[in-house]
């Protein structure tokens, strides 16, 4: 505790039922005190500590994870754990219990921490009246979606409380509205409605603040206002995707508009497969301008035949060669299924990043020696747009967005499965 913090004011009393010592920590603000030995709920405002109720713990004593009297610095102020209660609701015959720890600061007043299955919330009473219509609520300009409405009872208490507690007394209706990491809860007992605002917090932060031994219990499942571990918004991701895809489309359009598509060479040849030496070199051609791609197109007069061309694009000045091979084949016919065709008489390949310079092609055609003369034309064009680059980039952009959406959807589906409005899973039938 910091040096300027005064020592906590502790008042000692004894239980009128069992004589056990009682400790009062909330400086006269307690309305009820619970004896932790005999479970008597006492009226703290009565000088005689009148017994309001005695209860038996149904399943033995609950042990608070934050011991009463534990002190720590939380949200910038010194707090002490002074009360503990277990609250239980029943859904489809199954009881679900969560734990609430009442914290008190002489300067900041009361707040409490709730815990369910290792999930923690830091809660305080709402400072303004929220507007709720059953499906959503609005509080301080923020919209919260309705999550769940249930009836809950207090089933166990320890310590002191600034309100009157009763174990297994009248049920209150609890309605939760969420906007992760926040939860806005209303509790209605028929005559009065109390609104509290909770914020999801990590158990490790509480353990650190209160100096608790060991690790906090590990969270199980997804809690109603638990923020996604990815801290990601599918909407924002798709917004970013739209912007990036548009930028990509702009580049594509500019590339289409300003690509020079400059034909630098074209020549028609005839190849006799039976010839012994087929390789030859083309006349020189010049590539001007910046480094760019180069399209080599082969149009061959093949029908039920093939021709394979070993190409080498050779830089006259540097002696650097770019080797590649292309096949042109085309087959067609008629059978019992009708006419068919395979292959193409045209082939196109785009060589990447060819620097400017003086070049020639070394061409070595091959084919079946039984074939006759094959005519073909070689056309070389520099600076052509390549669609596959955009398709691959678009897929690379799309894939993470889909994965993020899928992950977010799954997380939300698990979250809302516990609500009054479960999401329908993809592919699930309507008969479930």
């Amino acid at each position: 505790m910091s040096p300027q913090t005064p020592p906590p004011h502790v008042e000692s009393l004894t239980c009128p039922n069992c004589g056990a010592p009682l400790t009062v920590r909330s400086m006269g603000r307690a309305v009820t005190i619970v004896c932790d030995r005999c479970h008597s709920i006492l009226d703290a405002k009565d000088p005689q500590l009148r017994i309001l109720q005695r209860f038996e713990a149904a399943t033995g004593d609950e042990v608070p994870l934050i011991p009463l009297g534990a002190r720590g610095k939380w949200r910038g102020a010194d707090y002490e754990a002074i009360g503990f209660q277990v609250r239980t609701m029943e859904v489809d015959g199954i009881a679900y219990s969560w734990r609430e720890y009442l914290l008190f600061s002489p300067y900041k007043g009361f707040r409490y921490l709730t815990e369910y299955n290792g999930h923690w919330n830091d809660c305080s009473v709402a400072t303004a009246l929220p507007e709720a219509d059953g499906t959503s609520a609005r509080y301080l300009g923020k919209k919260y979606k309705h999550f769940q409405t249930c009836d809950a009872k207090t089933t166990y208490v320890l310590g002191e409380f600034p309100w009157q507690v009763a174990v297994n007394g009248d049920a209150v209706t609890v309605t939760d509205y969420i906007a992760p990491p926040y939860v806005l809860s209303s509790e209605t007992d028929g005559s009065e409605t109390t609104w509290t605002l909770g914020e999801y917090v990590h158990g490790a932060d509480i353990w650190k603040a209160f100096g608790l031994p060991g690790p906090p219990p590990a969270p199980v499942g997804v809690y109603e206002n638990q923020p996604s571990g990815l801290r990601v918004s599918a909407g924002q991701t798709w917004f970013a995707f739209a912007g990036l895809a548009t930028a990509m489309f702009v580049i594509f359009t500019l590339n289409q508009l300003f690509s020079q598509r400059e034909q630098v060479f074209q020549e028609a040849y005839r190849f006799s497969p039976s010839s012994t030496e087929a390789s030859f070199v083309t006349p020189e051609f010049e590539l001007k301008g910046r480094t760019s791609d180069l399209e080599v197109r082969t149009d061959a007069d093949v029908s039920n035949r093939w021709i394979y061309l070993n190409y080498a694009l050779i830089d006259e000045d540097t002696g650097r060669a770019y080797d590649f091979g292309r096949e042109v084949s085309y087959y067609s016919g008629v059978d019992s299924d009708g006419s068919w065709q395979e292959g193409s008489r045209h082939d196109r390949v785009v060589l990447p990043s060819i620097p400017p310079g003086r070049y020639y092609l070394r061409v070595e055609p091959e084919s079946d020696s039984s074939f006759g003369l094959i005519g073909y034309t070689v056309t070389v064009t520099r600076d052509v747009p390549v669609l596959t680059v955009y398709l691959v980039a678009f897929c690379a952009l799309l894939l993470p967005a889909l994965l993020i959406s899928w992950r977010t959807y799954n997380f939300e589906q698990i979250r809302w499965a516990e609500s009054d409005h479960p999401m329908r899973s993809i592919g699930s039938g309507g008969d479930e």
Binding site: L230, R231, V232, Q236, T237, A240, F241, L244, M248, I251, F252, L254, N255, E277, S279, F280, R290, T291, S292, D293, L294, N304, Y308, N310, A312, I314, G319, R320, A321, Y322, D323, F324, G325, E327, Y331, S332, G333, D335, W340, E342, V350, L351, P352, S353, I354, R362, E364, E366, D368, V386, T388, V389, Y390, V392, A393, A396, L397, P400, A401, I404
Partner: protein
């Protein structure tokens, strides 16, 4: 760093790469580069040993 920011940075890098690919003429074609090809190839094209020689061609049809 949130995944949204990570995705945005990833996407911007991708767009820049696409721009560079468009400007520099990158493509996915696999081409083998051979350095210091002798100038004698001009006079004797058959002396060049093409990397793709011996490729097994499709000889079928339906």
């Amino acid at each position: 760093m949130t995944w949204n920011r990570f995705y945005l940075i990833y996407g911007v890098v991708l767009v820049l790469l696409v721009g560079a690919a468009a400007y520099r003429g990158w493509s996915f074609t696999s081409v083998n580069e051979v350095k210091n090809v002798p100038k004698s190839i001009r006079d004797n094209p058959g002396s060049y040993r093409a990397i793709y020689a011996g490729y097994h061609h499709y000889t079928g049809g339906k």
